[in-house]
Amino acid sequence: MSAALSFTAVEHQRRGKGFWATFLPPFLWMAGFYLVPLAVLLSLAFQKHEYVHIIQEFTWENFATALSPAYRPALIRTLYVASAVTLVDMVIALPAAYFLAFHAGRWKTLLTVLILLPLWSSYLVRVFAWRIILGKAGILNWVLIKAGILDAPSPMFVYNLFSMGLTLCYIWLPFMILPLVTAFERLPRNLLEASSDLGADGFATFRRVTLPLVMPGLLAGSLSVFSLTSGDYLTPALIGGPGDSLVGNIIAGQFGVASNYPLGSAISALVLAVLFVLMAILAKKRVLESF
């Protein structure tokens, strides 16, 4: 092990046993258990499917089916639901993360733990909690009736795009707040003081100094939330309406009941393509390093 961990300046240039001992295990794991599976998935996308058999014959058919009117609406819905959820979480998270980093004082540790707390319960149960809140016999209806706003319980709060969007915003919010808190904490305070000494008001300082400096964190959080939302299929299944399925539901269906791996792979490949384009854009802004 000691060879792997030699840290003299010379070694930085000269790769020896140490390099291979530290580099190979993670590299082989990633290649074998991640890149190869992705390659298998992509190759399936170009194979023919008849009944339950996969025929090894090159075809674009699966992509044509994936983009056909049967599946296109779900793809488009996923794009705009994921974008909307990302935007809403950004608006929710920015001020809260700012407050946490600058004004929380001795409460900061506790509040940071509180952001993580939901992650230790259960994703499924938290989604279900919204059904208890928004359902027809739910807490919201009970409160509205007690307050005299509603006469009878209304089913309008659940099993639709609204309840799905709200729950998605809720579920993935910690993944927006956490990188933002880190970004605000790393902000050099003296720059903010300099800006204010030079006569900038609070808003100008925020827009021209703070925001550009936390941008990598903000974009990192956004990429996470966008990606997590666009791959979520249990939330739409548990709390969305019957017509609100996202692309994840379709992929899960093709790898489950429908057992059409090639079509499922082609749709996954489309999701991958969108995310890779986003990543390539963000990689230029050095966002990938701020996760």
Partner: protein, 259 residues
């Protein structure tokens, strides 16, 4: 930073609202775990600990919990080992494709779980590897790895090189330098990464659905019951887990502050 008191108060109230939004669903879960009705609706007329008794007698919940702990701890160990090594490799040596490697490493946490799940499912199917807890562990370790990698990598990047050089100049062997200089300064990053990897694995369901065989993890067990609706017993189980992890983390924060 001279901000007016008003701005501070507005920000404070806004943050309070955000925290309420984040915790009201948890409060709902905890609340209904003590309600003596089976129906999860207000008003709650009586209180009971019955659901906790039922939970403690539920064999299948134990099996799920045990499997989840097994998966999460094994996957976390693997992820911590791989992530720490990878972070060292990237930080210490210049090699062809280093930047590509560094960006590619984070892909498993950036791509949605469902893609990871179906890709691995296709791969294991093609390779003829039977599904089970072992394949779930492989899946979880793969997305835990970048979590640890990022934490350790960020910490190493801020570690001044001069510390190691000083240690070497003073006659320490590389092993001694690692043990007494490097490791103490990255220890908390490794622990933080491992904790996060464990957290994500313990509650993971999307990848697990595709990669598990007959064995259920706790989230899978909850999922199979949710099809028939939520039961107060599940609320009790989730409340118990929540309390246990909150106590553990608060204790560890308290201890690390004392240390």
């Amino acid at each position: 930073m001279r901000q007016s008191r008003t701005t501070k108060w507005i920000l404070g109230f806004y943050t309070l609202g955000v925290f309420l939004f984040m915790h009201i669903p948890l409060a709902v879960i905890v609340l209904f775990s003590f309600s003596d009705k089976r129906v999860l609706a207000l008003p709650i007329r009586g209180w009971t600990l019955d659901w906790y008794r039922q939970m403690l007698e539920d064999e299948r919940l134990y099996t799920g919990l045990f499997n989840s702990l097994k998966v999460a701890s094994t996957a976390t160990l693997l992820a911590t080992f791989l992530g720490t090594l990878g972070a060292f490799a990237v930080m210490r040596w210049k090699f062809f494709g280093r930047n590509v490697f560094r960006s590619a490493v984070v892909i498993p946490i950036l791509l949605p779980g469902i893609v990871t799940g179906v890709a691995m499912l296709s791969f294991f199917g093609t390779a003829g590897i039977p599904l089970g807890l072992a394949t779930v562990i492989i899946g979880h370790a793969t997305f835990g790895f970048p979590v640890v990698f990022n934490m350790v990598n960020a910490r190493l990047a801020r570690l001044p090189r001069s510390l190691e050089e000083a240690s070497a100049d003073l006659g320490a062997t590389p092993a001694q330098t690692f043990r007494r200089v490097i490791f103490p300064s990255i220890r908390s990053a490794i622990i933080a990464g491992a904790l996060l990897a464990f957290t994500l694995s313990f509650d993971e369901i999307v990848v697990t659905i595709f990669l598990t065989g007959k064995d259920n993890t706790l989230p899978m067990e909850i999922y199979s019951r949710l099809r028939f609706g939520m039961t107060p017993e599940i609320n009790a189980a989730v409340t118990a887990i929540l309390t246990a992890s909150a106590v553990l983390v608060l204790l560890s924060t308290w201890f690390s502050r004392k240390a």
